[in-house]
């Protein structure tokens, strides 16, 4: 079997403008929704209590809502979780008359009492309480992790490549993150710690895609002296596309398995990965290469940088620097 039987290089870069326009529009839409809707942060970041309750039959959402509201909780969220029999109740941090935080056990006990488990058959499955100081810390740590990854990848790319490639790679991959976040803002999916982990993992994963293409471009500059920059990039993308699609396809198979069979806990994690993988291919292949082209990558840029004294011997090898 061979999926990719491509006789001629596909002229991707002829459509560079269109491909980047799509990218830019998606990016702007993501920024807009992030600004307009904001992220629906999980209690891990905001602090508060989450309860998961399961019913023997379909959960009566409206009556549960009114029961919980009677307890004096405003700003609660009650929704189905996984199936119609499971519900998730989100309570904000609550203070008593003296301004002291009400403990989550008291909160969840009060709610469970109101739900009247004896007659309704409601069963408490899970309680999660995060105090305000922890929530803030987790949010800050999450941001730190994100900054660390960005700096790490910037350093790695600038060490690995000439600056035009590094810049193009970083722009392309950061815009992926914004797009994932934009999806979460648009659909108001819950943004939790595990989604953050997925976002960071996929960032590290898709940067690699740009590295592969850039490597191939560098190799082509050396191999095909008569091609112009556009043809060289087209050839590089064409000859790596088989590997790109197969690897990402394999990873996506695993992610899809989690998305479909992993249950509600893994759902958003897998969803963030799916969006990240799809946009990761798109942006690192089409956007990053096109940006590098527009930044004016030339043969001289690359060949010059490679002439280190100890590399002379290997420079004779026509395949030197070749990577799949």
């Amino acid at each position: 079997m061979e999926f990719f039987r491509i006789k001629k290089d596909i002229p991707f870069m002829r459509h560079a403008l269109a491909l980047n326009a799509i990218s830019l529009i998606t990016f702007l839409a993501a920024v807009f929704f992030l600004w307009q809707n904001g992220l629906h942060l999980s209690i891990e970041f905001t602090g508060g209590t989450v309860m998961e309750v399961t019913y023997p039959q379909t959960a009566p959402l409206d009556s549960i809502r009114s029961k919980v509201e009677k307890l004096g909780y405003t700003d609660t969220q009650i929704q189905n979780f996984g199936s119609s029999r499971d519900i998730m109740i989100r309570l904000p941090l609550q203070k008593d008359a003296e301004g002291k935080l009400i403990s989550s056990a008291d909160q969840s006990n009060a709610v469970m009492q109101a739900l009247d488990p004896a007659t309704s058959g409601a069963k408490l499955q899970r309680v999660e309480f995060v105090g305000p100081q922890v929530g803030q810390e987790l949010a800050i740590d999450g941001l730190k992790a994100l900054i660390f990854v960005i700096i790490g990848i910037v350093l790695y790319l600038s060490f690995r490549f000439e600056w035009k490639f590094a810049l193009a790679g970083i722009i392309a991959n950061l815009h992926d993150i914004v797009i994932i976040l934009g999806f979460f803002a648009f659909f108001q999916w819950e943004f939790s710690l595990s989604v953050l982990a997925a976002v960071l993992a996929v960032l590290g994963y898709s940067v690699n895609e740009s590295v592969v293409i850039f490597d191939r471009i560098r190799e082509n500059f050396r191999k095909y002296r008569k091609m112009n920059t556009r043809e060289i990039i087209d050839n590089a993308i064409t000859s790596t596309i088989s590997r790109t699609v197969i690897t990402h396809g394999s990873t996506e198979m695993m992610v899809l398995a989690m998305l479909i069979f992993g249950g509600p806990t893994l759902f958003y994690f897998a969803l963030a990965l799916t969006i990240g993988i799809l946009f990761g291919i798109y942006s690192s292949v089409f956007v990053a290469a096109a940006l590098a082209m527009w930044l004016g990558v030339t043969r001289e840029d690359l060949i010059k940088g490679d002439k280190k004294p100890d590399d002379n011997a290997r420079n004779d090898d026509p395949n030197y620097g070749a990577r799949v």
């Binding site: 056990a105 100081q133 710690l193």
Partner: protein
């Protein structure tokens, strides 16, 4: 060219053997067991109890499949494994009956438990199954914050008392001691007095940095904690709270509780299987109180069952004695500022106690009138008193005194801990809490592994269909990756959580990248007309650079999560990072070994089974 030297095959064989051995315990199930732990702060579970339990079982002809003694955080427990639940129940009842003298007020908690079925020879090489996180088996998780300001304040209060008496001893007059957040200041009338106090305190209170400051006619001597001393105060506050928590949690008879320090001022408590958060919180949050009373001067203790003298209170003393005490309390636990183990002047183990000013005044009065008479310390928990020690008053004393008569340094240590536990430990606050029902836990583990298996199967089918024999090599390498990952995690005893399973799945999904790279590269070499053997060698060599690249970027993200992640994210990050490392071994080193083993011997290989190699030039 495609042959490994022998040592490389040996490395692979050893890795597979170790990987197999250490991942093996995860596949044994769990067997019914009985756990014996102490129900009281004064009772210790040790090896002597173990032999007693073993004898009880042997006398009744009950066969166990293993007896294990564990010492976690200074609290021992014994676990006995049985073949089936019938024997387990029988043994539980028997041990409970024989071990506890008073059935209504048991000294030992005997609880049903589950123990890994791992055979002894695996245990002997320390091959243990991965512990499951709470999200996989249900239970309660608390994150407690220790109030460090409170701990430091307590230390400052006790220092102030000491300093006051030291200055009095040396006849240095001062005009009062002020206590601040993390420092002390002593007011003096003259510079000379302040200076002489400084010389004295520099040697007697080395934990503080002393500085004289003069402003507007008043002379003040400031004492500030040295960073190291402050650190010690905070460390001991956390340590003491952990010990207290250990005792409390033991009482809940939880299977495998985890009580750990997190960061500088936080404590994690994990109680698998506990569902009743309210009760768990009640027990964890409960503070023990300590009372000091005069004992009956005639008979300070009697046997269980004897009638106590009229007008006296009795409390349990050791396993089968009762302490007899007067009703009035000399001082209570909050008067104790410090208790530590040490030695008396004859080098016998002793416990050094310090009291605050109010406690010292009362103590002085009482001891003056009762020299030669016994007094004792009683620890109250859940309204029940437990005698910690009864000792004879040797002389009149005040804020500092010693309790001698401890048989060993260990028991002196224990007593000091208990006395401190009875005094007010630094207060704690619950800042994070998770409760997961057991059915939800079982569901999580099932769903997690189901998606892992389905994903693996999908990748395996695709790889074998697309790359034929080389795809099969890749799949074997991927399976080896999973095996190594599980064994490394088991060796590290990393707790397996749902994010951990997700990371495992993702690690496999990403690891296959390396094999795709290699296979694609070999095909490309064949397409360009290389001979099969050259294609293999060049393919592996050239793919290696890219594999390294791809793993570096993924590792950057993994390390960031490891460094800044907490809770569930940490579990994800650990597996993610380890998965990258094991994949480098399995996808490159191991799969090359397989290929070499298959093709390396035959120099005239005509064709590689790597699927169709399509050439654009052909029709």
């Amino acid at each position: 060219m495609n042959r490994y030297p022998l040592w490389k095959y040996l490395v692979i064989a050893v890795a597979l053997l170790i990987g197999g051995l250490y991942s093996l315990p995860n596949f044994y199930g769990e067997a019914p067991a009985v756990q014996v732990s102490s129900a009281k702060p004064t009772i210790r579970v040790d090896l002597a109890i173990q032999s007693r339990v073993e004898k009880i079982l042997a006398d009744a002809n009950i066969n166990s499949t293993g007896v294990f003694f564990e010492n976690a955080g200074n609290v021992g427990s014994i676990k006995i494994r049985f073949n089936n639940t019938d024997i387990q129940l029988q043994a539980r009842d028997l041990i409970q009956q024989k071990l506890n003298v008073d059935q209504n007020d048991p000294n030992y908690t005997v609880a049903l438990n589950l123990l890994s079925n791992t055979p002894g020879w695996l245990n002997a090489i320390n091959a243990l199954p991965m512990p499951l996180g709470l999200d996989l088996r249900g239970g309660v998780y608390f994150l407690l914050q220790v109030d460090m300001k409170g701990a430091v304040q307590k230390k400052i209060t006790s220092l102030a008392t000491d300093i006051r008496s030291q200055l009095r001893d040396k006849n240095i007059r001062h005009q009062g001691i002020d206590r601040n957040q993390e420092s002390l200041s002593i007011n003096f009338g003259s510079n000379d007095e302040a200076e002489s106090a400084r010389t004295l305190l520099n040697t007697s209170q080395p934990d503080l940095v002393w500085l004289v400051k003069t402003s507007g006619g008043t002379v003040k001597l400031f004492g500030e904690f040295k960073p190291k001393a402050l650190q010690d105060v905070q460390d001991s506050a956390v340590k003491q709270n952990i010990i207290t928590l250990n005792k409390r949690v033991n009482e809940l008879a939880v299977k495998e509780p985890v009580i750990q320090k997190q960061g500088t001022e936080r404590i994690v408590v994990q109680l698998p299987g506990v569902q009743d958060t309210a009760r768990a919180k009640d027990i964890i949050g409960r503070t023990a109180t300590l009372e000091s009373r005069l004992a009956d001067p005639v008979v300070s203790s009697i046997n269980l069952g004897e009638t106590p003298p009229p007008g006296m209170d009795t409390f349990r003393f050791g396993e089968n004695r009762l302490g007899v005490f007067k009703k009035s309390v000399i001082f209570s636990g909050d008067r104790i500022t410090d208790a530590s183990a040490g030695f008396d002047q004859y080098q016998r183990p002793a416990v050094n106690l310090s009291l605050d000013a109010a406690g010292a005044r009362v103590m002085q009065e009482v001891t003056r009138e009762n020299i030669g008479k016994p007094m004792g310390m009683i620890l109250f928990e859940k309204g029940k008193g437990e005698v910690l020690t009864i000792a004879t008053i040797q002389s009149e004393f005040g804020s500092k005194f010693q309790i001698t008569g401890q048989p060993t340094t260990e028991s002196a240590n224990d007593l000091a801990l208990l006395l401190r536990a009875g005094s007010l430990a630094a207060p704690m606050e619950i800042i994070e809490e998770r409760t997961i029902g057991p059915s939800l836990g079982a569901e999580n583990i099932e769903k997690g592994f189901k998606s892992l298996l389905i994903g693996f199967a999908a990748i395996a089918i695709f790889m074998m269909a697309y790359y034929l024999l080389f795809g099969t090599f890749s799949v074997v390498a991927l399976a080896v990756n999973l095996l190594l990952l599980i064994s490394v995690l088991s060796m590290l005893q990393a707790t397996l959580t749902l994010p951990g399973i997700a990371a495992m799945a993702l690690a496999l999904g990403m690891a296959i990248d390396s094999n795709v790279l290699i296979n694609e590269r070999i095909r490309e070499e064949l397409r360009n007309g290389s001979s099969p053997q050259t294609a293999i060698a060049v393919g592996f060599d050239k793919a290696w650079a890219t594999i390294l690249d791809s793993n570096v970027t993924t590792l950057i993200a993994g390390l960031a999560l490891l460094a800044f992640g907490s809770g569930p994210i940490k579990g994800f990050a650990v597996v993610h990072c380890l998965g990258i490392l094991t994949s480098m071994f399995s996808a490159v080193f191991f799969s090359r070994g397989l290929v070499n083993l298959w093709y390396g011997r035959n120099k005239k290989v005509q064709k590689l089974a790597i699927g169709q190699v399509w050439r654009a030039q052909e029709k």
